[in-house]
Symmetry: C2
Subunit: 363 residues, 2 copies
Amino acid sequence: MSESRIAGQVRVVGTGLLGASIAHALVARGVDVILHDSSRANLTLALDYGAGRRATHEDAPVLVVVAVPPDVTADVVAAELAAWPNAIVTDVASVKRGILDELMAAHADLTRYVGGHPLAGRERGGAISARADLFIGRPWVIAASTSTATAAARLVEDLVIDLGAVPVRMSAAQHDDSVALVSHVPQVVATLLARRLAGAPEPAVALAGQGLRDTTRIAASDPELWVQILGANAIPVVEILRAYRDDLDALLAALQEPDAPGARRAIAETLAGGNAGVSRIPGKHGQSSHFSQLVIVVDDTPGQLARLLSEIGEAGINMEDLSLEHSPGAQFGLVEISVLPEVEQQLMAELESRGWKIAGAFA
Amino acid sequence: MSESRIAGQVRVVGTGLLGASIAHALVARGVDVILHDSSRANLTLALDYGAGRRATHEDAPVLVVVAVPPDVTADVVAAELAAWPNAIVTDVASVKRGILDELMAAHADLTRYVGGHPLAGRERGGAISARADLFIGRPWVIAASTSTATAAARLVEDLVIDLGAVPVRMSAAQHDDSVALVSHVPQVVATLLARRLAGAPEPAVALAGQGLRDTTRIAASDPELWVQILGANAIPVVEILRAYRDDLDALLAALQEPDAPGARRAIAETLAGGNAGVSRIPGKHGQSSHFSQLVIVVDDTPGQLARLLSEIGEAGINMEDLSLEHSPGAQFGLVEISVLPEVEQQLMAELESRGWKIAGAFA
């Protein structure tokens, strides 16, 4: 790995998933990382994993990264600003407005505070799940306030670039409104849907397919963390959920009398609105362009998929995406490979000539 | 492919995704498949793709599969029952109760009718997307009525087994209640969420991650088909959506005053209920057992992933699942490989000894 853009010590407060991942990435770049956690057990675990070193009396960090739960972030940031009068302090909490308000109320030195939020994470938490590459290619919001010094924001931008993330500048308010839409409301919607399964009969749940799996996956997230996030960002979340509920009520009205005049049209327009909305989400490469897909049948035995991909590699074709789907109980799986449309025919010919069974091709 | 369990001609009415896929699978098993579609263009397309042959005056099907849109299914089933007095007739519509009611009202010969519903499909439709393996390993509900002859239900079971699907016997009512929960309500929930994105500011949408992608994926489905499905299964869908809305209202009340006594607890219990619900969904292999995951960094160049998988194959290790994740703009991707927990350490050692960069390992 190349060298860090940050010259000096970095203190990481909080060694959960995000803190430990940041620490690992900085250590890998040769940075002197000081770890602190209010839980001795968590700290020891992170030290054991090599995420940095213990604090000493000689520490002089240039940057403090506060990676603690949202509801204590403002207090910890204020304490770190006071403890290290020469350091820039940033945080990684997934809400930004409330923290800024609290710091202003506490008369903290806002010139040295830069709010931050990496859009990265997993359902699993803790130092044990930490990964140095957690942030690579992810957006990382830098929410500098009007009081933030230019040099302070630039140092946090250096951190973000060091970790391989993509810096996105936004105000705290713009950030909170944005994540309410793309993260917090989806969490609520998935949770409420998953709740319907709790008392469902077993034969019904046994019919579950990929659609239900995808729509409920994030409902497995940590309630303790999410109660803080939703509480801290309640205003924009409530606003979006109210609009959502208005749509739901309108759909319910139409479904209660599906043969009444206008009801089918109302349902169809709701569904079409969903089509339009989903088309706005950028693709995996940050572009909305579409790839061609080939679906190939492979045996569920070691080496089969490798042989397939090796032959695709030999053909000089780059896959844009790949997804593997096992059929429950079946002795083989389906592999869906996405390629640029212009190489689809070539790939199909190559694979067929090598005896692969192509189950489908889609533009 | 082995021989068909069905002796005799099979007539497939409707050559969209499901009809054409059934036809392809039967042709592959050597069955004489007769195709019919009210649209000459669709029929010609399916014939061109080799899904079967045109109808003749000498036809004598033993089985008729009606694969037309839900709102015309009952009419077409009744017509086919009348046209072929010696044939068993089944359908593939995703709602079953209404069709049975209509057939009873029309005094159709219910001894020869067997309702069916394969839990399979794609966002894409049409004969052009058809695949012979569409049903492999999928549940296929067989909803025989109390009037259905035993031999009729058995013939449809033979069809289901021929196509590689898993027959699941249910009443029409039980089926409709089940799919309302695992398919129709998730469709509504995803659609309503995706609608919120329609007018959203571009910088907000640019922060979208995998969570939003997953929760809204099925919102891309065909409105024309779904307006029929939701209309035909409105009663159980409305019932579940009402319970969903009650939960939403309770959560909204808590979020409007997140610091009121009891509000945090209400939010936390809602989230925990989501955890409990999602844990009921069976895993990819139909089991809920967990695999270990390794995350490996690969260059975004042809052949890299193939080399990785080839080396996993050489190590004699079978992957249970694989997912590939490109980072937007980055020149490499992350591969998450799921394996049985007992081989995780071995795989990690094998890969590290071959120079692969392991970004993380999770139980």
